[in-house]
Amino acid sequence: MVMKKTYLKLFFGLLILGSCNLEQEVEIDLPDYEIRPVLEAYIEPGERFRLLLTRSAGYFAPLPSLDNLLEDLLLDSAEVTITHNGVTYVLENTLLFDPGTQKIYNYAAGPNELAPTESDLPFALNITLPNGQTIEGETQLLAQIEIDSVVIEFPETDEPGDTLARALTYFTDDPGRDNYYRRMLHLNSLDSLPEQDFVTDDRLVEDSTIAFGTGFNYAVGDTLLTTLYHISADYATYLESVEGAAAANGNPFGQPSPVISNLGGTANVLGVFTGLVSFRRNDIVMKN
């Protein structure tokens, strides 16, 4: 990531003549594209079984507006089940909007059919699409990893203007297995876009402390919400491939790659089915 930013900086830094219209719009004819189903299914402890099933589109296919967005995107009328510990939950084709998280789902089990808060047993997903094609997936819930501490630090200067602090987040990794994490940092509310959103693993960790840091960006009184997800290897791979695909567009040094899903079946699906265990804490920025 540092590397790509460096090259982008250098690249643009060298475009002294960038104002001379070196970027222009062109007409291109892309190869034919076969529309695919797109799935996001997360098993969240204590939450209802629910998922979002949509469809992809040709890159230059007409874009939906906010009014017909759902109609255009959603892939309805599929048969969806999740099986766990011998029980099969049927997810009905229904539109569900979670006002707290601002997320939508078009398949959900009953309001009392909740994922367990912890379990060692696998979850199996089976979907049959209206055209007869199938989607299959399997996942588990991992152990929750707690954040050990969030340290708020002000710069060590006497400048009266230096009033902003940074936050250092520490947690302990289990060296006995390969672990993957996603860590998000929000400012004041979860409604806003995250300040930071990283996926990482413990490949390079020599002892068992992992840390994340920020720049000196936060004022006294700000609330920092830190969320640490303990995720599976295939979800980490999926997230990195999605980020890689998005980053390759517009970056001449990027290496494009297809999105790497963890789903099977006959439907040539794109997406992810994963357990999502998290730990969250709030910290208020204060001068000590």
Partner: protein, 782 residues
């Protein structure tokens, strides 16, 4: 029994008769500055005998005893000299050739074309520094390596595509040697300039096929760069002041006729300007400081004639690119470069036997250092070689010239060395791999002249590589044959097998300094190629040389990245590789004119490269092309058509104009044919448009074409020579595609805080790098 007796007697007589020949040998040099002349012709026209000088200017010719012989020595750009000798015994005869002309047009004899007709070498391109200095150049920096890309078979660059892709070979398949030391990254500024300072270069040759047995280690090309030795007659200098860089070369005798030195340096100075701009804007909050960037290189060489039979050469190269950025809380430094050192000893054992022994050291590294208050991060990679080789040249007689030799190289690799952590030591992580490999080679070849018309150069190279508890050995046959249909027509064919034990881990397109050299290991097998080529050349009149060649190349154990490869900071880098095979074939045609006021060439290449059957080294790895049934694909450097037209016109003695026109099919690029939306988890933004990449390299960029113009106006002051060179790159301001991306456009108010933004349309945008770029340089010579 009797038959055997006659045969043996006949053989003995041949040897005896041959033994009565006398050998005339020596060195051919430029009389004005003592430089060895490489490939100078030595001929006895009355007897139909001939040979040429080797890379150290040494020649050896066998003539019958008894009669006097008239020997003619000639070399392009020099006056031929003829001598009548009556040798009674083996004779050492050194020759100094001079240009012999003042300011008149230098008459270039057709002997350089004749040499190409006579030689068994094919698939070779050479360029003189004179041509390189006259052709229009980017930002005024003449670049011999960039200029040779105007020859057929070598795609002449594209917008920002700076690697060399010779006959469908990947950018790591080029062996670049500078005075026998391997140069791993011959690029400054991501490849826009090469590391070769034209003022210091004597000769540059590129082999695209038919590789002589003394070369090995890379599949697709050998770029052999020889530095000048330095004027051993008088002190001299040259240099230039350009738009972005300046250079200076100083040379002279240490002891006249016996030893000389040359030192050549170059540096850019845009950073001096940008630092002033930064300083002027220090108080301006809206201003983003421009990062520092500069590159420099230094070539130095001394040579000593220790005795009649011994010469010693010591040369070195050091170059660096430095990029830096710093602010109150953040420091970033990125530097990369090569260092090479060579010590060579020539020894003449006898008039027929010449040897060169070389010790070289070569080092390529990059270092990234990043510091944010409280944290530091360092990343680097390095390859260091120490190599010893010896090459013998044995002119057995006029029908057999034998070359043999051996080499051993120790490679030390540091791959992805990372050290990062907090200043208080609480957080600490590191990564990196180290390898030590030994590469060996031994070869023998014989240039056999069966008749005036038919010659064959047959050779065998044995190579090996040891690393990671695994030893690879390869046998590399090399054959080249030439049949002269007449003095003007020649047909040539060649076959060469090559092994490559080192691999460049890189994105296919742009030459980045962070590209990593990785050795063959237990899992990563050596790359291999087999190339056949056949061609015909015709000398039309005395001025035009036509060359037509077709080739076919089989490539094995080719590496690509798996989908979603993690290249940086990865101790298990091999898990990111997929291995497959390739095929490259094509046709090259050129017509060249070297005499007269108008000189130049036109070259056309029609080629295809295809890769297929990739399997991942890690069973869990994914290579979508295969697993999703997409099948064979073309790499991004697969260019179907490539045309170059180069013309130099001497308007007057002072003024030369030049023009270069290139046209090529666009490179391939990988564009996503589809898109999807990604809602993501609570707290994360909604991505309305995420690309869905499918088949690799599925789109061909628009054709690349460009016209460059140059003018050189010479002055002749008392102290020497100078000129003003004006270059206009991209004279008709063609916007060639560097890359294409898709940009969603949003109209009206976006509801940013909730993170849901739907674009109203998506535009395809093309980015170009170079508009019309004029530049002016002042060059001087004293």
């Amino acid at each position: 029994m009797m038959r055997l007796f006659y045969m043996l007697t006949g053989l003995l007589l041949t040897v005896v008769v041959q033994a009565q020949d006398i050998t005339i040998s020596g060195t051919i040099k430029d009389g004005e500055n003592g430089e060895d002349l490489i490939g100078a012709t030595v001929a006895v026209p009355s007897l139909g005998l001939g040979t040429s000088s080797n890379t150290y200017g040494f020649y050896s010719l066998s003539v019958p005893t008894g009669d006097s012989v008239r020997i003619v020595f000639s070399y392009v750009g020099f006056q031929s000299q003829a001598f009548t000798l009556l040798p009674k015994a083996d004779t050492t005869f050194n020759v100094n050739l001079t240009t012999g002309v003042e300011l008149d047009e230098v008459v270039v004899k057709a002997n350089s074309f004749q040499e190409q007709i006579n030689s068994t070498e094919m698939s070779v391109e050479a360029i003189s520094t004179r041509e390189a200095k006259l052709l229009p150049v980017l930002l005024g920096e003449s670049d011999i390596l960039k200029t040779i890309q105007l020859k057929p078979g070598i795609p002449s660059g594209s917008e920002g595509r700076t690697g060399l892709f010779v006959r469908g070979g990947a950018q790591d398949q080029n062996l670049i040697v500078l005075d026998e030391a391997v140069v791993y990254n011959a690029n400054h500024l991501f490849g826009f300039f090469s590391t070769f300072n034209t003022d210091a270069v004597k000769d540059l040759k590129i082999y695209k096929g038919g590789f002589p047995a003394e070369y090995g280690g890379r599949l697709s090309s050998v770029i052999d760069v020889k530095l000048r030795d330095g004027n051993n007659q008088k002190f001299a200098g040259s240099g230039g002041l350009g738009l972005i860089a300046s250079r200076l070369t100083l040379e002279g005798p240490i002891q006249k006729d016996k030893s000389s030195f040359i030192i050549s340096g170059r540096r850019t100075y845009v950073d001096l300007l940008t630092r002033q701009v930064n300083r002027a804007n220090e108080g301006n909050e809206d201003f983003s400081a421009i990062p520092d960037y500069y590159f420099y290189d230094l070539n130095a060489k001394v040579n000593f004639q220790l005795s009649d039979k011994d010469r010693l050469f010591l040369s070195g190269y050091f170059g660096r690119d430095v990029f830096g950025f710093s602010s109150d809380f953040f420091n970033f430094n990125f530097d990369w470069g090569n260092a090479t050192g060579t010590a060579r000893w020539n020894h003449v054992f006898s008039p027929k036997l010449f040897a060169n022994t070389t010790f070289t050291y070569s080092d390529y590294q990059y270092n990234i250092n990043n510091q944010i208050t409280g944290f530091s991060f360092g990343l680097g990679s390095n390859i260091a070689d120490a190599s010893l080789k010896t090459d013998f040249f044995y002119a057995a007689n006029n029908t057999h010239t034998i070359r043999f030799g051996a080499m051993a190289t120790h490679h030390a690799f540091t791959v992805g060395r990372l050290q990062a952590g907090s200043d208080d030591g609480v957080v600490n992580f590191s990564a990196g791999q180290e390898f030590n490999g030994v590469e060996l080679g031994a070869y023998v070849s014989d240039e056999m002249k069966f008749s005036d018309a038919f010659s064959v150069n047959a050779g065998l190279r044995l190579s090996g590589f040891d690393n990671d508890g695994k030893t690879y050995v390869g046998l590399e046959p090399r054959v080249a044959a030439r049949y002269k249909l007449s003095d003007r027509w020649v047909v040539k064919s060649s076959y060469a097998r090559m092994y490559q034990y080192l691999h460049l881990i890189a994105n296919a397109g742009v030459a980045l300094p962070t590209d990593i050299w990785y050795p063959s290991t237990q899992r990563v097998k050596p790359q291999r190629s087999d190339q056949v080529a056949t061609g015909v050349s015709y000398l039309l009149g005395s001025k035009y040389f036509l060359n037509f060649e077709v080739y076919y190349k089989w490539l094995d154990n080719q590496l690509q990245f798996v989908d979603g490869a993690q290249i940086f900071v990865n101790d298990a880098l091999e898990d990111e590789f997929a291995v497959g095979e390739g095929r490259a074939y094509g046709m090259e045609f050129s017509i060249e004119k070297k005499e007269g006021r108008l000189t130049g060439w036109i070259g056309y290449t029609l080629a295809l490269t295809r890769l297929q059957n990739f399997e991942t080294l890690d069973p869990n790895g994914r290579f979508a092309q295969e697993s999703e049934g997409f099948g064979p694909f073309n790499p991004i450097y697969d260019r179907r058509h490539d045309i170059s037209v180069v013309a130099l016109y001497e308007i007057t003695k002072r003024l030369t104009a030049s023009a270069t026109f290139v046209y090529g099919s666009g490179d391939l690029t990988w564009l996503p044919p589809g898109r999807f939306t990604f809602q993501d988890v609570a707290g994360a933004g909604f991505e309305a448009v995420v690309p869905d990449y499918r088949e690799r390299n599925n789109y061909r960029l628009p054709a690349y074409h460009r016209l460059d113009l140059g003018f050189v106006y010479k002055f002749f002051p008392k102290w020497g020579e100078s000129d003003l060179t004006l270059s206009v790159i991209n004279a008709y301001d063609r916007r060639n595609a560097f890359f294409i991306f898709f940009e969603p456009e949003f109209e009206g108010e976006g509801n940013n805080t909730s993170g849901i933004e739907i674009p109203t349309r998506i535009a395809a945008k093309q980015v170009s790098l170079f508009p019309i770029l004029p530049s002016i340089t002042w060059n001087f010579k004293f």
